[in-house]
């Protein structure tokens, strides 16, 4: 029964959702929204499960005096202090989301900078990943390097500036060449636009087709009860 009941619920819900997509008449038309509301309510309660897991995990780490359990102390203290300040803000300011409340302050001056810092790390990670990807090892990686350099140069002001300087230099050396006209020529932008809108877009759309069909096939497998890997025995 532990396996059959969830399977029946999944099949019935899946079929109903598909049917409601083509039947706008009441009660089918609004059923999908209603089911989604139920899902949101249920998933809201599971946040408690998550909190329980988080607190238990770190309490165990502290109790077992595991290596680097100091981080767990910081996490639990931060959690309970923020929670207490949230309740205080709710009573004092009618909402913990008010910017002048303690939780508003924590959000603006602690959480946002921390999030920004993590996001900023991406720049360094992109550099190290790009270094590995663009190393010239084969014909493919050479093509990748050249294409990436071209696209990057065309997307930043420095690229256009460099091209303009080069064009003027050519104009100064070869008097038959108009340096200003050459500087205005879309040497970087046109090939870049072509790369982005033709080969890149073709590959992207091919992958999108595959993902969409895989999505539908997986959904049908779940609705028909063929796909059961998400169920426990």
């Amino acid at each position: 029964m532990k396996r059959e009941v969830p399977l029946i619920i999944t099949i019935v819900t899946g079929v109903v959702i598909v049917v409601t997509f083509v039947i706008p008449h009441s009660p089918f038309g609004t059923l999908q929204d209603r089911l989604m509301n139920w899902f949101i309510i249920v998933s809201g309660f599971t946040t408690l499960l998550g909190l329980d897991s988080l607190i238990q995990y770190h309490l165990r780490k502290i109790r077992d005096r595991r290596k680097e359990s100091g981080y767990s102390v910081v996490l639990l203290l931060s959690f309970f202090i923020t929670f207490a300040l949230g309740i205080y803000s709710w009573i004092r300011f009618k909402s913990p989301l008010v910017p002048i409340s303690p939780t508003g302050w924590i959000y603006s001056y602690m959480l946002l900078p921390l999030q920004g810092t993590m996001f900023a790390l991406l720049a360094f990670f992109i550099t190290s990943a790009a270094y590995r990807a663009f190393r010239i090892k084969s014909l493919e990686s050479t093509l990748l390097l050249l294409t990436a350099c071209l696209v990057m140069l065309a997307r930043v002001p420095a690229g256009n500036w460099l091209w303009a300087q080069f064009a003027h230099l050519v104009g100064a050396v070869f008097h038959s060449v108009d340096g200003n006209a050459l500087a205005q020529a879309p040497v970087l932008s046109e090939p870049t636009n072509w790369i982005l809108s033709v080969p890149q877009m073709a590959a992207k759309r091919g992958i999108t087709f595959g993902i969409s069909l895989g999505y539908i096939a997986m959904s049908i497998r779940i609705i028909l009860g063929i796909e059961r890997t998400y169920l426990s025995s």
């Binding site: 083509v22 008449h25 897991s53 049908i220 890997t229 998400y230």
Partner: protein, 412 residues
Amino acid sequence: MTVLVLAAGAGVIPAAPGPDTLREIPVVSSDASAFKFNLKADDVSNDGGGYLGLEWAVFPLDFGNLETFSGYRAFRADKRAGPYDSIGYTRPSGPQDSALSLTATYTDSTQDGKLFFYYVKAFGPGGEALSDTVGPAKSSAQWFHTGRLNFLLVAVLFGVLLIFYIERAKKGRMFVRRIAGLDAIEDAVGRATEMGRPILFSFGLSVLNDVTTMAALSIFGRVARKSAEYATPLLCPNSDPLVMTAARETAKQAYTEAGRPDLYNESNISFLTADQFGYAAGVDGMVMRDKPGAVFWQGYFYAEALILAETGHSVGAIQIAGTTSIEQLPFFVVACDYTLIGEEMFAASSYLNPEPQMMGSLKGEDFLKAVIMILLIVLALLGTVGVILSTAKGQSAPAQVFDKIVNWFQEV
């Protein structure tokens, strides 16, 4: 009859039936008086009822006078003679063209089956005008969304194909190409075991109602089973409590099936945070502290993808990624040893569990892919020929057919 009104008017003309304040209207412009609203009131199609749609040609003052033209007010009554109540105000949101081809619309909330009459008043600093009264019109609910017939037909076709291939797969073996990322699961777990390090599995920011998560769960089940067989700890930090619960159930079953339920440690599959970069920081911390020998990034990822994968690379872990997020795929391809690209993730459960039903659905998917490819080639040729044959007088027959087919697919 359309009645036009301008503020600094000269004459007086009879008004359309309506409130007393609109009975006498001064007319100034003879050109404007010829304007036809062509007001129509119809049931809103393909809805669950309760709405009537009004549509009329945009008033001449509306053209290029966005600052000065005020808009339109719609009036409604349940009898032609009135009394009419104002039901709302609207105006087209952007500059109109000069070909008088655009229409303004208003959707009225009504009671199904009840008859209503409408007229529209256009007004602004320069003048006002009334439309004819239209009606009676009534709203109703539809039992079938005709605009989604394309979806239904494709879904039925796909369903029939899947069932056909599932039945065919029961009769004989089917060939599936090797998927390196899935073949490498055992090697990755074995390597982590040899190094005496744990395995880390992340679902990213996936939520349980995403099909990608379902696909990732089937891969997680295989990884959990292998980690049970090799007695290697499996860590799984989560950003969604529902996914965490499903992952715990899957791991528990995998450990039981492997005959090692004693090794299952629920606290290893824990909730971290729902915050995107908080999650990235937390997982990065785990990677740096525990130094896993194998890392699996399977699920839906956003900007944190490369932060996670590069951290995994920095500790020398063998990394197998899989996502349906097209924007993050290149990052995983660069930073990881193996990457399951989009559909390969969905094929994972069939690949790892090659039962006829699963294999048949894969084949059905491939067949539909072939159909789409043929359709794309045919449509590309048809569209190109259509453009070549079209003249200034009008579209050629192939171009018209092309437009019809494309529009049919775009209807949903």
